[in-house]
């Protein structure tokens, strides 16, 4: 058995959150003032409240040379911290990492690019920042330019580049590194589909030459295409390590189904009112409770309730409110006189495509136009960044607006 390319043992990273100063950096004045205060106060901890926060805890794994590892997890799971430790930007609090060979990391597209410099100059600058020497860059220069498709603009300052050209050039430089280990953070989110494909291909070639690739992305499709092994992080801890399909499935399902099911406390005056809701479920279109719905997928809300007596003109309603308290949509059932008993109402969404984010659900029951139960600020619908949309992923962000439903668009040549 060969020596692992990367060996991570009990890795942990702790940050101290200082609740006193909200600024990102400290002021000398504050430090002096605090020191002065603490001289006079008996309890040294009285003047500042520090909270320890573990961004990563007890991470251990090994990677064989040539492995392609995909690291996945929600925002704040510790993916970036792990990459930063592996690329030696920040130091772990405990644990140890042993790496065999040269590491090149691409945590951001175009790190060190200078807007005033031309494409040619930036290739040299960025290459050397990423760890190439001058001879190496010169040797690969033509290849990089061809890959980035910027031949005509080589002597134009990159500040005049379109964002697509900029990204292409930046990735092209990084793709031509020849390190033993290549670390890539979410950088493919930018750039068009064709170029993304080209990048993934290039990264696969890299690992074909026996190099190890570590890749972080929210794009499950890209991760599945590129990686063989997956590592799922949740709140700084390693959840699963294994074949990529297994790990992505685990991630999609959500690590706990708790947030999909809401048990509603029975109101005190339950006998007086017509009835009450006791359970709400967020489900995928097949009826499985899920905590997060992928962008573009259908979902449904199931509400279980009881009616104590015959309810005239009974209506069940569902409201959808954005996280900034902006009402998006309300739907309600046809008024109908309804007998006492246990019921469920199913609100199926198969037309509205919402952008990823958190939404509040409002559920109301009414009789004869009067609401007798109103559930607000309790149930959340999360639309995750994982996408089922294949074509227009890159436009799916908050700037695209809340609603992503495609219009009926036709382009007709005029004669």
């Amino acid at each position: 058995m060969s020596v692992p390319a990367i060996k991570v043992e009990n890795l942990g990273k702790q940050y101290i959150l200082n609740h006193l100063s909200k600024e990102r950096y400290t002021n000398l004045r504050d430090v002096i003032a605090r020191r002065a205060k603490s001289i006079f106060s008996s309890d040294p901890k009285a003047s500042s409240s520090k909270e320890e926060f573990w961004a990563l805890q007890d991470i251990s794994f090994e990677l064989e040379p040539g492995a392609r590892l995909g690291i996945i997890g929600r925002n704040g799971a510790g993916k970036s911290t792990l990459l930063k430790i592996l690329s030696r930007i920040t130091e772990p609090t405990n644990g140890r990492v042993t790496i065999e060979g040269r590491v090149a990391s691409l945590l951001e597209v175009g790190t060190g690019f200078h807007p005033e410099l031309s494409g040619r100059e930036n290739i040299y600058l960025n290459g050397s920042i990423l760890g190439m020497d001058k001879a190496e860059i010169r040797k690969k220069f033509d290849e990089i330019v061809a890959f980035a498709e910027v031949e005509r603009f080589l002597d134009t300052p990159v500040k005049r580049y379109s964002s697509g050209m900029y990204v292409r050039l930046a990735f092209a430089v990084a793709a031509h590194l020849e390190p033993e280990i290549l670390i890539v953070d979410e950088v493919l989110a930018v750039g068009d589909a064709a170029f993304q494909k080209k990048c993934l291909g290039k990264m696969r070639d890299v690992s074909g030459q026996g190099r190890t690739v570590i890749f972080v992305s929210h794009n499950m499709e890209a991760v599945q295409k590129l990686c063989t092994t997956g590592l799922l992080l949740h709140k700084g801890k390693l959840v699963t390590l294994g074949p990529i399909e297994q790990v992505t499935r685990k991630y999609m399902e959500g690590s706990d189904t708790g947030t999909a099911l809401y048990d509603i406390p029975v109101p005190e005056n339950k006998e007086k009112e017509y009835g009450f809701v006791h359970r709400i479920q967020v489900e995928d279109e097949k009826g499985n409770p899920v905590p997060e719905i992928p962008v573009g997928a259908n979902w449904q809300i199931r509400v279980l309730f009881r009616l104590n007596r015959v309810t005239p003109s009974f209506v069940a309603g569902l409201g959808l409110v954005s996280y900034l308290d902006f009402p998006i949509r309300t739907s309600w059932s046809q008024p109908a006189d309804t007998n006492a008993g246990e019921y469920e109402v199913l609100f199926k969404n198969d037309d509205l495509m919402l952008v990823s984010g958190q939404y509040k659900l409002v559920i109301g029951l009414s009789a004869e136009g009067k609401t007798f139960q109103y559930i607000n600020e309790l149930v959340t619908l999360s639309i995750s960044e994982i996408s089922t949309l294949t074509h227009n992923e890159r436009i799916v962000n908050q700037e695209s607006g809340l609603i992503l439903n495609p219009m009926n668009i036709t382009i007709t040549p005029l004669k």
Binding site: G101, T111, H114
Partner: protein
């Protein structure tokens, strides 16, 4: 056989200085970038490298002339001013650029690994390049005034090295502090301005050292400023016999420069591992 990297908390790299040597290519490119970028989109470009020190020299000459500061017999005032302005400009720009260098390059610090020391070193190097360009002004003046500095000019690199050490040491120290305490960003311009008044740029050290009514203690405090040694040294090298070096002051300068370099490097190494977390 590829190299093995071990990442651990508090691990001290045994190959710290070797690493920096291995990354010398990046040092070159960082300096190259700063030089290239400096005069982009200016119409006269590199001429600014000459124009800026020329303007400073002109102002210093005018002030010296206005207040009638002492100039030795047979030496043009402009040469006395120039011999002091060039090393002072080098020090002040190198010191302030190095102090701010980490903040200016914060995106690099938080996204890529390389020996952190390279950033302040490269900004001092850029200022050194500026110094060498502006040195042409001095050579030109020497020719115009047919002034022969003699063999002593061979010692010039020694004093330049001393200035380099001072700028590097103080620059590293402030740069590392600046990451955590941005207050230093505002203190640096003040230090530079204050330094100009207590260094013999617009006047001559002879005036202080040879003046009988100035107490010894004041002379000693004056000599504690390491730039006094550097500037006196420059004048001694360039203007020849008409200038003398005050030896105790000169030794103080050397000791303080070495100390500042040691302190700067020590503090920088002590704090550099947390740069990415706090910047």
């Amino acid at each position: 056989m590829p190299s093995r990297i071990i990442i651990e908390h508090g691990s001290k790299s045994k190959s710290y200085w070797k690493d920096i040597w291995n990354y010398r290519g990046l040092l070159y490119f960082l300096a190259w970038r700063d030089v290239l970028v400096r005069y982009k989109q200016t119409s006269i470009g590199i001429i600014w490298s000459l124009l800026r020190p020329l303007m400073t020299i002109a102002v210093m000459w005018f002030i010296g002339w206005l207040f009638g500061s002492h100039v030795p017999e047979g030496v043009p005032r402009i040469l006395v001013v120039c011999a002091a302005t060039l090393p002072w400009s080098f020090f002040s720009s190198a010191f302030s650029d190095a102090s701010n260098s980490l903040l200016v390059n914060s995106n690099l610090l938080s996204k890529v690994y390389f020996p952190r020391l390279l950033i302040p070193i490269s900004s001092v190097l850029v200022c050194l390049i500026d110094f060498l360009i502006s040195f042409a002004i001095l050579l030109f003046l020497l020719v115009v005034f047919r002034f022969n500095p003699g063999w002593k000019i061979c010692f010039l690199p020694l004093f330049l090295g001393l200035a380099f050490m001072i700028a590097m040491g103080t620059g590293l120290f402030i740069a590392a502090l600046n990451v955590k305490f941005r207050d230093f960003r505002y203190i640096v311009p003040f230090i530079v301005q204050f330094g100009l008044y207590v260094s013999p740029v617009a006047f001559s050290s002879d005036y202080i050292f040879k003046h009988k009514s100035i107490p010894e203690a004041v002379k000693f405090i004056y000599a504690m400023n390491p730039m006094v040694g550097v500037i006196d040294g420059f004048r001694w090298c360039i203007l020849g016999n008409s200038m003398s070096i005050y030896i105790p002051g000169f030794i103080t300068s050397i000791v303080i420069s070495v100390l500042s370099l040691i302190l700067g490097v020590w503090y920088f190494r002590k704090t550099e591992k947390s740069f990415a977390d706090v910047i």
